[in-house]
């Protein structure tokens, strides 16, 4: 029952935002094994990826151009109206700042089994994608809803927050599986267009420690140079 309710809530939330093309919902189910294996440790490739200011500037230019095209060629109208309004510009900057904040983690640790993908990020919550019998199951709370899907072999995570705020992460593996692109799109009902940032990550092997550690309840993290049997 809870599952159905959760799905319904997510469905409604997504439907409510469906006027925005960036929010087209991806496949919520798949057959057989998961379309891609993202598991492993990933570190940010700073040599690639978008610069927030650059993307923002490009977006302003593009929107201004569009605004200008909409203005009829009437010499009596000033040029001021052919640019973005102050409010629109502020909303866009806010989206850019949020996108920058969300994509800040430079290490992603992804664990994946037959029905679940967990994406751990430093200083942020772990994104969780659950699929039961190949069907995506979302997480809902009073503060938002989260659900994943597959678009071909791209994993897409949707986070739906109050006030029409939506965060979409799209994870794409390179053909050699050594690199991963994470495209993060932040949109809001207060902004006319979404803001998208691309980040690139490289697969890496975490350095092996001479200690073996496990988490325990009463002693917290316990480490030993020998084998620890959990």
């Amino acid at each position: 029952m809870l599952r159905i309710t959760g799905m319904l809530v997510l469905g409604l939330l997504v439907a409510a935002c469906s006027q925005q093309p960036a929010l087209d919902f991806t496949a919520r189910s798949y057959q057989g094994a998961m379309p891609a294996d993202l598991s492993g440790s990933w570190e940010r490739d700073y040599s690639r990826g978008d610069d927030v200011n650059g993307v923002l500037a490009g977006l302003f230019q593009q929107l201004n151009r569009k605004a200008a095209q909409r203005i009829p060629s009437d010499p009596r109208m000033g040029t001021a109206q052919a640019t973005l309004s102050q409010r629109e510009a502020s909303s866009l900057v806010a989206l850019a700042r949020l996108a920058e904040l969300i994509t800040r983690p430079d290490i992603l640790t992804i664990s994946q089994n037959s029905y679940e993908i967990s994406i751990a990020r430093k200083d942020d919550f772990s994104m969780l994608c659950e699929f039961y019998d190949g069907v995506a199951k979302g997480t809902t709370s009073d503060y938002g809803a989260e659900v994943c899907g597959w678009d071909g072999d791209q994993l897409v995570s949707h986070l739906i927050l109050p006030d029409g705020l939506i965060v979409i992460h799209r994870f794409t593996l390179s053909p050699n599986k050594k690199n991963m692109r994470v495209t993060t799109t932040v949109s809001s009902s207060t902004a006319r267009v979404p803001f998208t940032l691309n980040r690139f990550y490289m697969r890496f092997e975490p350095p092996s420690s001479e200690f073996n550690c496990i988490e325990t309840l009463s002693m917290k993290r316990v480490c030993s140079t020998g084998e620890i049997v959990p």
Partner: protein, 346 residues
């Protein structure tokens, strides 16, 4: 030494006929963990399957201790599998266990098939760790266990001595029938409603019946050894379990306080501003981190008590396997002996 612990030399003293009729022996079977088969419900229902499995092993012992302490019953044992010939068999399912509250579905049926209890019990944990029964290892829900003990006494008070004596006799006859159906197949009638009625009783000092009693005595010794393993498990993990329960209780309280805090922390920042957006994102982030922290505790608990559980399960399986293996052998031997004694062997 508990009432349940008998050595071979004291076997006869432990047999049912040496005690008052009301002092029925109770077998509490390891609980059903109550884990939904639909994996997708586990997070929503706050069910940690591996911890539920530990609770299913752990909680019956708490009930056993409560019942034993009343001194109202014969031997009270925790058993890994249902003993259908038990004088009084208690089985249960963990319906809910979230640190703040515990809900058990309990069924108590005597050897004659009479249902004593079929009821849901729920209890709230004490407000703080210090107020709980941690020292006694009773995990903070003592009122719940006391209520079960009370209900069993009430159920027993509805039966007269004859009915209670019948239960003891039926228990032994069901055991005899299981072990040597040829010799003891017609002493009981099994009614369509699942209840048992005595047709006739073996003669006093019937050598066949005496043998059955001796075999059951040996089996009880092994059952007591198994019960001892549950006791050891309880002693080893009680404090960690209480810590886990305390974490979960605090987590539940945290959620309530967090909800209040979030209500009061609504930002005045205008909609569409970065501050407003960050506030929405951070609220969700806080909520998820808290939930994920709880899963980390669950893993920590499992890591900590896992080796103990594995050791205990392996020893119980060994003992249980020994009983099962010998039970078949006893059954075969007894059938042969009884057949020879009756002159039925060809």
């Amino acid at each position: 030494m508990t009432r349940a612990t008998c050595t071979l030399g004291l076997l006869l003293m432990c047999l049912p006929l040496q005690r008052a009729a009301a002092e029925l022996a109770i077998s509490i079977v390891v609980f059903d963990p109550g884990v939904p088969t639909d994996l997708s419900l586990h997070r929503d229902l706050q069910v940690f399957p591996r911890i539920r499995r530990i609770e299913a092993l752990f909680l019956p012992f708490v009930l056993r201790e409560t019942l034993a302490e009343t001194s109202e019953w014969g031997a009270v044992r925790v058993v890994p599998e249902p003993d259908i010939a038990a004088e009084l068999l208690i089985s249960g399912t963990v319906v809910r266990s979230d640190g703040e509250s515990l809900e058990l579905q309990l069924l108590a049926v005597d050897a004659s098939g009479r249902v004593w209890l079929d009821k849901n019990y729920s209890g709230m944990a004490p407000l703080s760790y210090e107020q709980s029964d941690v020292d006694s290892g009773l995990s903070g829900y003592q009122k719940l266990y006391d209520e079960i003990a009370e209900d069993l006494l009430i159920a027993r008070s509805n039966l007269d001595d004859k009915a209670l004596t019948d239960i003891v006799e039926i228990s032994l006859l069901r055991y005899a029938n299981q072990l040597a159906p040829t010799a003891f197949g017609d002493y009981l009638t099994n009614a369509p409603d699942g209840t048992f009625r005595i047709n006739r009783l073996p003669a006093e000092n019937d050598p066949k019946f005496e043998r059955i009693k001796r075999v059951r005595g040996v089996e009880y010794v092994m059952t007591d050894a198994i019960d001892e393993k549950f006791k050891e498990l309880h002693a080893e993990i009680a404090s960690t379990y209480d810590l886990w329960r305390e974490y979960r209780r605090k987590y539940a309280q945290y959620r309530i306080e967090e909800a209040k805090w979030l209500q009061n922390s609504k930002t005045d920042a205008p909609r569409g501003s970065f501050e407003a957006m960050q506030n929405r994102y951070d609220n969700y982030k806080r909520d998820r981190i808290a939930a994920q922290e709880q899963e980390k505790w669950a893993a920590g608990f499992d890591n900590e008590v896992g080796p103990t559980i594995m050791r205990m399960e392996s020893r119980v399986a060994e003992l249980d396997g020994w009983v099962e293996q010998n039970y078949e052998e006893w059954s075969r031997l007894l059938e042969e002996i009884f057949a020879l004694a009756s002159g039925l062997a060809e």
